[in-house]
Amino acid sequence: MALDLSMLNRFAVTFQKNDIMFCEHEPGDTCYLIQTGRIQIVKIMGDIEKIIDILYPGEILGEMAILEEAPRSATAIALDKVTALEFNRENFDVLMQGNPQIAFKLLKLFTKRIYDQKRRFMILTLDDVQARVADVFLMLAETQTNADPNKDERTFNTTIDDIAHWAGMTTDNCRQVLNHFASQRRIEIYPDKIVVKNINDFARFVSSKRKSKVE
């Protein structure tokens, strides 16, 4: 989808690496269309900084504050030097009316975000910590579109920190669970990756825990 955004250059803003673009709970009335650089979306939950997403050029952020006039639901931090187009409530409507393709793209983006968030929430509804960690691997496996579905073994280039984030637990607790899985030979932990020996075994394990919760 090629969009000519050159006439929108008067809305351009720049952020330096590590700058906070906006902060969770802050009232906000601007949204951004990223042109260059990456942005990390995080939420502070208790003592954990949870990485919700990493956004790339072409993506939109901050639109929820505009659509609903509610405080920011997450914090946006520039991972690189970022250039973006900044819109407020008035010119956001103008942008959407004048560029229905952008509005439609945003609609699609929302469907994906809602699905992803629900999937993440499913992990957190599990009481059993082992099941939570196993479900994180299942969630990650669902996004591996190029993996061979007939193979039981899956490789994840994910850090323990990330898995702890998704599972909503501290890194130490998460490491304990992973070590336990490793001692059962269900996974192998390497410095740069984690290999799950049988993803279907994890799927059965999680589904049994989920059923027992509903009953």
Partner: protein
């Protein structure tokens, strides 16, 4: 072409878990969505209104249906493929905007649910405590630039809030760390803060500390104490950054204690001596307010109008000025 379809009562449009990329528009009849609440697993029902689209999310997001669509009363609908649906809504941005609002609301709800599971404290309901909490987290993680951002924002929105004093203390602490090169993000922190002249650390942190102490006193409405603090910083003249900041604060103190003439005089001198002072437009607003309080509407109006010609249209101070002008004109 979108197709018309008729469904008998008790039939199923699609089942939960189906992979189906169609979008439906209900023209007549009754359709109910049956699904399980993601938190409790409880069975839930939502009735679709006539004229409403359904099946949009899973079709656009290309994921399995999350609910079963049951026909309760003979129904007529129009069935769209995703490209057909796209065509229709691209010509009617209003529909997209409406859906965006609904989806945005759902997303916020699920964010909230995630948050509620992860944190048992009550911060999630309270933006004020939440914003302060974010600052605390970054301060603890030694990410001072981020901490400074959060605390400064806190003070912008809640200058006399419950955590204002602690936020001030934390800003002082974070600034000292940034200036001494501590923390992971020292470089970014320094660029985010106003450029400070090079002086020894001791002197800078002293002036900063006094300045924030002054701001704290001000927020406690101890204006005369605050005034003394700011004046002392100016007299010492150790740190140009805080001298400039204090000059502005002195005016605010004078305004707060009702010394209108002194306030006007102070800001007039400040504007003449520092025509590039970062708070100059705010200062003009105070001067305008002083004249208004003194009953000189004409002069007040002149200052408010001057603000509009200097500040960007959407700056908070412009909004305040417009409001003040509106109020004066209404009289």
């Amino acid at each position: 072409m979108p197709k018309a379809a008729a469904y008998k009562s008790n039939s199923i449009v699609y089942f939960k878990g189906d992979n189906n990329d169609k979008v439906f528009l209900l023209k007549s009849g009754k359709v109910s969505m049956k699904y399980n609440d993601i938190e409790t697993g409880q069975e839930m029902y939502d009735l679709i209104q006539t004229g409403e689209f359904f099946g949009v999310k899973s079709a656009l997001g290309k994921y399995p249906r999350e609910e079963t669509a049951v026909v309760l009363q003979d129904a007529n609908m129009i069935v769209f493929t995703v490209p057909e649906f796209e065509q229709v809504v691209l010509n009617n941005t209003r529909i997209i905007m409406k859906m965006l609002k609904v989806f945005s609301n759902q997303l916020r709800r699920i964010h909230k649910q995630v948050q509620d599971v992860l944190s048992t404290d009550e911060q999630s309901d309270n933006s004020e405590a939440g914003l302060f909490g974010v600052g605390e987290y970054y301060l603890k993680s030694k990410r001072y630039a981020q901490a400074l951002y959060a605390f400064r924002r806190y003070l912008t929105y809640y200058p006399s809030g419950a955590f204002a004093q602690q936020a001030l203390l934390n800003i002082g602490a974070a600034e000292r760390f940034v200036k001494s090169g501590g923390g992971q993000q020292a470089a970014a922190g320094a660029s985010a803060a106003a450029p400070a002249p090079r002086q020894s650390e001791e002197e800078m942190s002293g002036a900063a500390q006094r300045f924030y102490n002054g701001v704290s006193l001000f927020s406690q409405q101890k204006y005369n104490d605050a005034l003394a603090e700011f004046k002392a910083i100016i007299t010492e003249g150790q740190d140009a950054e805080y001298v400039a900041k204090s000059l502005f604060e002195v005016g605010r103190c004078l305004y707060a204690v009702g010394e209108l003439d002194k306030c006007i005089g102070h800001y007039t001198t400040m504007i003449q001596r520092y025509p590039k002072h970062p708070d100059i437009v705010e200062a003009l607003f105070y001067v305008g307010s002083c004249y208004e309080k003194k009953g000189d509407a004409g002069k007040a109006m002149g200052f408010y109008k001057k603000i509009l010609s200097m500040a960007p249209e959407d700056a908070p101070v412009s909004r305040k000025a417009r409001k003040a002008i509106g109020a004066l004109e209404g009289k």
